[in-house]
C-alpha cells in the first residue's frame, strides 16, 4: 500500500505555505526507536502524520491498531509513552496530539507486544464476540475461588493503559493562588473577544488556554479576514494588546481542569514539557488556584465522531482535526480523503484540504437536504457529493485503504454499495458544546430539541458561557457572543463596558443533524462501530446493555464503560446517549447525561501534589532537642506530626538491645528523655479552677498553687479523650499538659465549651506547647543530676515532694520544674523556653555522666510506663473506653455535681456487665511478646470463627521483670484476673494469664525517693 511505503521519507506530507510551525527550526525525535524529523511548533502527532505515520498505538481491550482521531486534548487513541531526559521522567498515556515536539524527545507506542505492527493481544479482536459488554462480570464469576488466584491476576496483567512508571518522579511541581476580577477560560474567538472587551475597560483579566498559543479554532479554520487583517496578523495584534495591558495576564499551556465552589478554578500549567533543556530548578507544572469574581467559559465545542463499521481504523479521523493538521501544522493527513458527515462543517474541511492539493474522492453526507452553496462549491472543486448516502464499512487494518458507501433508502437500509479507495476518512457528526467545567459547578443542562444538543441552563456560580459552548457556530456569532458575555460580566462587576465589534470576513455558517449509528446494509451484529475508542465500546455493546435491562445512562455507562476512559467520553458520550435512547425508545433528555467531573483532561499527580514531595510532603515537627538526638544516632519514629527519638542505639545494638539497656539504666541510675512534644495549655483567669472543674473529671478547687494532679478528660459521651499532669501555678493560672497527639484537639474542645456554653466564665486559654522545651529526668539519681543547677527552689524530697511544682531557674534559664513521673521512678520534668532546650539538655547530659545517666527514647518510655500500668490514651483506649473500663474511677471527683461526660457515665450501655476492661496479660511462655492488636479468645476455644473477647493494646519485653508483659481490653476483664485466655497469632496460639495492670512496684515506693 502506497501509504506504508512512504513512511520514512521525510516530511513529504507537508503542505507549503500552510501552518504555524517554524520551518527554519528542524526538530529530531524518535518513535518506537525510529528517528523522525518535524518542526518547532509540531506536536508528536502532527510530526508523525507529516512522516506518513498514522498507526500510533493499540487499543485497550481488542488491541486494534489506532491512529489519532483528533488534533487536541480530547484525543482518545494516540496515547504514547514519553521519555523526557533523565531517570524518573517516563510518562505513559501522553496524548501525541498534545505533546509538543522538542529536540531529542523519545516516544514509544503502548499496548502492544511484541511490536506495534505485530501484536499478539490483537487476538482479542478476533474473539470480540466473547468480549462484549459485561463480559468480565459474567464470565469470571465461577468458580468463586478462582477469582483471587486466577482471574483477577490475569485480568490485571493484561489490563491498564500503558505502563506505570517504576521510578520516583524526578520532577518538581509548583502551586500558586491568584485572585482576579475576571477569569476567561479559552482563548478562541469568544474568549479573545471577551478579553479585549474587558481589557479595554481596565478590568483585571486572566485568560487561560490549554494550547501553546492563543487563537483556538482560528488556528484551525481561518476566515478570510478579521477586522480587515489576515488572521495571523490579527492574532499578533491581539496578543500584543493583551500583553501590553497591565491588568491582563495571558496564560497558555494552562488547562482549566476543574471549576470549584465560589468561582475557584483549578488551572494546570505545563511549564517544561515542551523544552529540550529546562532551566535549573524549573518546576514541570504549576497548579493555579484562581479565584475570580466572574468567570467566562469560552471552551468552544468538540466535534462528534460518526458511528460506523471500522470508524476506528488509522486514517479515519475528525474532519476538523484534518483541518487543524492542515491549517495549524501544514500537514495533510492523506492523499485521498473521503469525507463522511452529517454537518456542514466537514464540507468546509473538505474544501480546505482540496485547495491544499488533497484529493477528495467524495463527500458522503447522510442528509438528503444539503445547502446548495456547499454543493456548488464542491462541484467547483470537482468533488463528488453523495448526499443521502452512508458508509457501511472501512477496509484496511493499519491504515484505511477504502470505504464502502451506498445510498440510504427510505427504510434506512443502504443499497447501491460502491467501494472508494482512499488513505483517509474524515468524519463529522456535528459539534457538542464543551460544558465540562460548567457541569463541575452543578450547573444544569437544557436539551435543545431543534439542534439536539445540551446547552447551559441554570447557573450556580457567577459565570457566563460564550460561543461554541452555547451551540453557536459561525465565528462572527461567536465573537459577538464573547463581547456580550464580557459586557454581562463587567456589568456584574459594576464596570461600564464599552462595546467592541469584531468584523469577520469569509465567515462559514453551518448546521447539521445528530445521528445514531449510521445506516448500513447488514444486521448490525457483525459491525465494529466504535462509540468509545479508548475503552473499545461499540454501538452493539450499548444496545446489549439496554437489552440486559440497563435503563439509565449511568447504568449503561458502568456496564459498558462508555465514557469512563481518560478522555471522559468527550467524543463518546453524546453518541452513546443517542444510541441508548434509540434502543430504549425514549427521548434523549429522559435518558440523561452522565456527570462530568474534574479534571477536564488527565492531570499528573505531581501537579496536584505541588510542593508536597520529599521532605515537604507533610509537616515534620521537630523539638529543639531533636538536632542533638540526630547527631547522637537516635532512631526516630513519627508521633502525630512530630518526629521523636525512639531509641539511642550504641554500636552494635539493635532496638531490642538498646531499649533493654535504656530501661535498665533508667531504673538503676537515671535516664533523660525529651518530652517537649507534650501538649501544653495555659489556663488563666479568675474562673480558671471553675473551668478546670467543668472540663476534667478531677476536682481542682482545692489543689494548692505549687501542686500538680493527674487530669482525666472525657468527651461528653463519657469516653476517655485525653489525660495529662496539670499544675497550678497560682490561684488563677494552670499549666495543663496533654498527650502529644491530643494537644490541638483538647484546646479546640476547651475553646468550644468556653465560647459556646460558658462565655460568662472569666478564663482564657493559650497554647504553650512550643513555648517550652520539656526535659524529663527519671531514676534514683535524678535529683543528683538536677540539683546543682536549680536556683530559687529547694528540690529536696521533703520540700519538693512528688506532684510538686516550682517556678525557678535551672542552669540560669527560667524554668517551670515539675516533680512528676511517667516511669514510676523518682522523676522531674524541667520546662525551659524552647530555644534554651538543647543548651539545658547538654548541661544535664554532661552532669549525668557522673551518675551513669542514659538518654532514652519513646520506646523505653512506653515499656517503663507499661510496667507501671500507666495508660496511653489512644493506644490503650480507643474512644469506647470509660474511666471505669480503664480502672481510673479514682480520678473522678465524686462530689462534683457535673463535668464534661459525667451524665454519660450512668447511661445504661455504660453500666453493662460485659464491658471490655483494661487488664494485664502474662504469657505462659515468658519469652513470647504478643502482637499489639492481637485478638483474645476463651482458653481452648477452637471454634471457627472463635468468639473474640478483646484485643492486646500494649505489649513489650520488660527488661525489669525479665519477661514479656501486655495490656489488653477484655470483656469482663476485671473478673477474669487469675484466669487463662488464648491469643491466636500467626503460626501459634499463646496462652496467657489475666493480671492487674501494675506489673512493677505496685506500692509506688520508688517514686517517693
Amino acid at each position: 500500500m502506497a501509504t506504508q511505503k512512504v513512511k520514512r521519507t521525510m516530511n513529504n506530507w507537508r503542505v507549503d505555505g500552510k501552518g504555524r510551525i517554524n520551518r527554519d527550526k528542524h526538530v529530531r525525535f524518535t518513535f518506537d526507536g525510529v528517528s523522525y524529523q518535524g518542526y518547532e511548533g509540531d506536536t508528536v502527532a502532527s510530526a508523525l502524520i507529516a512522516n506518513g505515520v498514522h498507526l500510533m498505538g493499540r487499543s485497550f481491550k481488542y488491541h486494534r491498531p489506532r491512529g489519532p482521531v483528533t488534533a487536541g486534548s480530547e484525543e482518545p487513541n494516540a496515547l504514547i509513552g514519553t521519555f523526557r531526559s533523565g531517570a524518573g521522567r517516563f510518562e505513559p498515556n501522553t496524548r501525541a496530539t498534545v505533546q509538543e515536539l522538542y529536540e531529542g524527545l523519545t516516544t514509544v507506542s503502548q499496548n502492544k507486544w511484541p511490536t506495534l505492527n505485530f501484536d499478539i493481544g490483537a487476538v482479542n479482536d478476533k474473539l470480540h464476540k466473547l468480549f462484549a459488554a459485561g463480559f468480565y462480570y459474567k464470565t469470571f464469576m465461577w468458580p468463586k475461588s478462582f477469582w483471587d488466584r486466577v482471574y483477577e491476576p490475569l485480568i490485571r496483567a493484561s489490563a491498564g493503559l500503558g505502563i506505570s512508571p517504576t521510578e520516583p518522579d524526578a520532577d518538581t511541581y509548583a502551586a500558586r493562588y491568584l485572585h482576579t476580577e475576571l477569569l476567561i477560560v479559552g482563548a478562541g474567538p469568544a474568549g479573545l473577544a471577551a478579553a479585549l472587551t474587558a481589557a479595554r475597560n481596565g478590568t483585571d483579566v486572566v485568560l487561560v488556554d490549554e494550547n501553546r498559543e492563543i487563537g483556538g479554532s482560528l488556528l484551525s479554520e481561518a476566515p478570510t479576514a478579521i477586522d480587515g487583517k489576515n488572521v495571523g496578523n490579527w492574532l499578533i495584534d491581539v496578543i500584543g494588546e493583551l500583553e501590553a495591558s497591565r491588568n491582563v495576564r495571558v496564560m497558555t499551556r494552562a488547562t482549566a481542569i476543574g471549576y470549584y465552589h465560589e468561582n475557584m478554578v483549578g488551572v494546570a500549567e505545563k511549564l517544561t514539557d515542551h523544552m529540550a533543556s529546562p532551566p535549573a530548578n524549573a518546576p514541570r507544572e504549576r497548579m493555579w488556584r484562581i479565584r475570580a469574581q466572574e468567570v467566562i467559559l469560552a471552551q468552544g465545542a468538540l466535534e462528534r465522531p460518526l458511528v460506523f463499521d471500522g470508524n476506528d481504523r488509522p486514517g479515519v479521523m475528525m474532519a476538523g482535526a484534518a483541518q487543524t493538521y492542515l491549517n495549524r501544522y501544514g500537514v495533510k493527513v492523506g492523499n485521498a480523503a473521503v469525507v463522511v458527515t452529517s454537518h456542514d462543517s466537514a464540507w468546509h474541511a473538505a474544501f480546505d484540504l482540496a485547495d491544499a492539493g488533497v484529493r477528495i474522492p467524495a463527500i458522503v453526507d447522510v442528509r438528503t437536504n444539503v445547502n446548495g452553496y456547499l454543493q456548488s462549491e464542491a462541484q467547483k472543486r470537482g468533488i463528488t457529493a453523495k448526499v443521502g448516502h452512508s458508509v457501511t464499512s472501512v477496509s484496511g487494518t493499519k491504515r484505511v485503504s477504502a470505504v464502502k458507501i451506498g445510498r440510504i433508502s427510505d427504510d434506512q437500509y443502504v443499497t447501491d454499495i460502491t467501494s472508494i479507495p482512499c488513505d483517509a476518512v474524515l468524519m463529522s457528526g456535528g459539534w457538542t458544546p464543551s460544558l465540562h467545567l460548567f457541569s463541575h459547578t452543578k450547573g444544569s443542562l437544557q436539551w435543545d430539541e431543534e439542534n439536539e444538543v445540551f446547552l447551559p441552563g441554570e447557573k450556580t456560580e457567577r459565570c457566563h458561557i460564550a460561543g461554541g459552548g452555547r451551540g453557536l457556530w459561525s465565528q462572527q456569532a461567536v465573537f459577538d457572543d464573547g463581547v456580550h458575555a464580557a459586557q454581562q460580566a463587567l456589568s456584574s462587576l459594576g464596570h461600564n463596558a464599552q462595546p467592541l465589534s469584531v468584523d469577520v470576513e469569509g465567515d462559514r455558517a453551518g448546521s447539521g443533524i445528530v445521528m445514531e449509528e449510521l445506516p448500513g446494509n447488514d444486521d448490525k451484529l457483525s459491525r465494529r462501530a466504535f462509540v468509545d475508542f479508548q475503552n473499545d465500546v461499540t454501538a452493539k455493546d450499548i444496545r446489549l446493555a439496554v437489552r440486559e435491562g440497563m435503563l439509565s445512562i449511568e447504568h449503561i455507562k458502568r456496564f459498558t464503560t462508555n465514557g469512563m476512559a481518560t478522555d471522559q467520553g468527550k467524543l463518546s458520550n453524546m453518541n452513546g446517549l443517542k444510541i441508548a435512547s434509540g434502543e430504549l425508545g425514549r427521548p434523549t433528555p429522559e435518558v440523561g447525561l452522565t456527570t462530568f467531573r474534574p479534571p477536564y483532561t488527565p492531570t499528573t499527580f505531581g501537579t496536584f501534589a505541588g510542593y508536597h514531595k520529599d521532605e515537604l510532603f507533610e509537616v515534620t515537627r521537630k523539638t529543639s532537642i531533636d538536632s542533638w538526638a540526630e547527631e547522637n544516632g537516635a532512631v526516630f519514629e513519627p508521633v502525630a506530626l512530630w518526629r521523636r527519638a525512639r531509641y539511642y542505639p550504641k554500636a552494635g545494638e539493635d532496638m531490642h538491645a538498646a531499649v533493654a539497656r535504656e530501661c535498665r539504666e533508667t531504673r538503676t541510675f537515671v535516664g533523660m528523655f525529651d518530652a517537649s512534644t507534650l501538649g501544653k495549655i495555659e489556663v488563666v483567669g479568675p474562673d480558671a479552677a471553675q473551668f478546670m472543674n467543668r472540663m476534667y473529671t478531677n476536682p481542682w478547687t482545692r489543689l494548692a498553687p505549687g501542686r500538680c494532679r493527674y487530669g482525666l478528660l472525657l468527651g461528653e459521651d463519657g469516653f476517655i479523650r485525653d489525660d495529662g499532669v496539670i499544675g497550678r501555678l497560682s490561684e488563677d493560672r494552670f499549666h495543663v499538659t496533654t498527650t502529644t497527639g491530643g494537644a490541638a484537639r483538647v484546646l479546640t474542645m476547651m475553646e468550644h465549651f468556653l465560647q459556646t456554653e460558658w462565655p460568662d466564665l472569666d478564663v482564657w486559654l493559650t497554647s504553650t506547647t512550643e513555648q517550652w522545651s520539656t526535659i524529663a529526668l527519671n531514676g534514683p539519681n535524678a535529683r543528683k543530676v538536677l540539683e546543682p543547677f536549680v536556683k530559687g527552689a529547694d528540690i529536696s524530697a521533703e520540700s519538693f515532694p512528688h506532684m510538686a511544682l516550682r517556678e525557678c531557674t535551672v542552669a540560669g534559664f527560667e524554668a517551670r520544674l515539675f516533680r512528676v513521673s511517667f516511669t514510676g521512678e523518682l522523676g522531674f520534668e524541667v520546662n525551659v523556653p524552647s530555644q534554651r532546650g538543647r543548651a539545658l539538655w547538654e548541661v544535664l547530659y554532661q552532669e549525668g555522666k557522673k551518675y551513669s545517666m542514659c538518654v532514652y527514647g519513646t520506646e523505653t518510655m512506653h515499656v517503663l510506663r507499661a510496667e507501671k500500668g500507666y495508660i496511653i490514651v489512644g493506644q490503650d483506649t480507643d474512644g469506647t473506653v470509660t474511666p471505669a473500663d480503664a480502672g481510673l474511677t479514682w480520678a473522678i471527683g465524686k462530689k462534683k455535681p457535673d463535668f464534661v461526660g459525667k451524665r454519660s457515665l450512668t447511661r445504661p450501655d455504660m453500666l453493662l456487665p460485659d464491658r471490655k476492661q483494661l487488664v494485664g496479660l502474662l504469657t505462659e511462655d515468658p519469652d513470647v511478646v504478643l502482637e499489639e492488636g492481637a485478638q483474645i479468645v476463651e482458653a481452648g476455644d477452637t471454634a471457627v470463627p472463635a468468639r473474640m473477647l478483646g484485643h492486646v493494646t500494649s505489649s513489650y519485653r520488660s527488661e525489669t521483670l525479665g519477661r514479656s508483659i501486655a495490656m489488653a481490653l477484655i470483656e469482663c476483664g476485671f473478673e477474669r484476673v487469675g484466669t487463662s485466655l488464648d491469643i491466636p497469632m500467626p503460626g501459634q496460639t499463646h496462652r496467657a494469664t489475666v493480671s492487674r495492670t501494675v506489673f512493677y512496684d505496685p506500692d509506688g515506693d520508688r517514686i517517693k525517693m
Binding site: 465552589h261 479565584r291 475553646e751 462565655p759 455535681p897 457535673d898 451524665r903 454519660s904
Partner: protein, 105 residues
C-alpha cells in the same frame, strides 16, 4: 473551595481558615444530672441531617479563633448567612428556622 464570611473579622475568607463544629443551637442542658436517659441521648447523638438549609456552627480556627453560627445549604454546599455565636442566622424565609425543602439536584 468555599468562601466564608467571619462575623467577627467582618471579612469573607477562604474555607481553609475555618472548620466545621457541628449542628448549631444544641445547648448543653443546664443540669445534666436531671436529664433522663432519652433526653441525654438526644442531646448527645440526635441531629437533624437536613437536606436543605442547615443551621451549623463553624470556627474561624486559623483566624480570630471564634466560633460562630451559620446557615448553609447542604445541597449546594454554600453558605447563606453567618452570625455571631448566640444569634440565629436568617435565611430570608423564616427567622432562624430551617428551610427543609426538597431541592432537585
Amino acid at each position: 473551595m468555599l468562601l466564608i464570611h467571619c462575623p467577627y473579622c467582618k471579612e469573607t475568607l477562604p474555607e481553609l481558615e475555618f472548620e466545621y463544629a457541628g449542628q448549631a443551637h444544641i445547648a448543653r442542658p443546664e443540669n445534666p444530672a436531671e436529664q433522663t436517659d432519652a433526653e441525654w441521648r438526644d442531646y448527645l447523638f440526635i441531629r437533624s441531617n437536613v437536606r436543605g438549609d442547615h443551621a451549623e456552627q463553624w470556627r474561624h480556627s486559623h483566624g480570630c479563633g471564634r466560633y460562630f453560627n451559620a446557615l448553609r445549604n447542604t445541597v449546594s454546599d454554600k453558605f447563606i448567612a453567618t452570625c455571631e455565636i448566640g444569634q440565629a442566622c436568617s435565611n430570608g424565609h423564616a427567622e432562624g428556622e430551617e428551610n427543609n425543602e426538597q431541592l432537585e439536584s
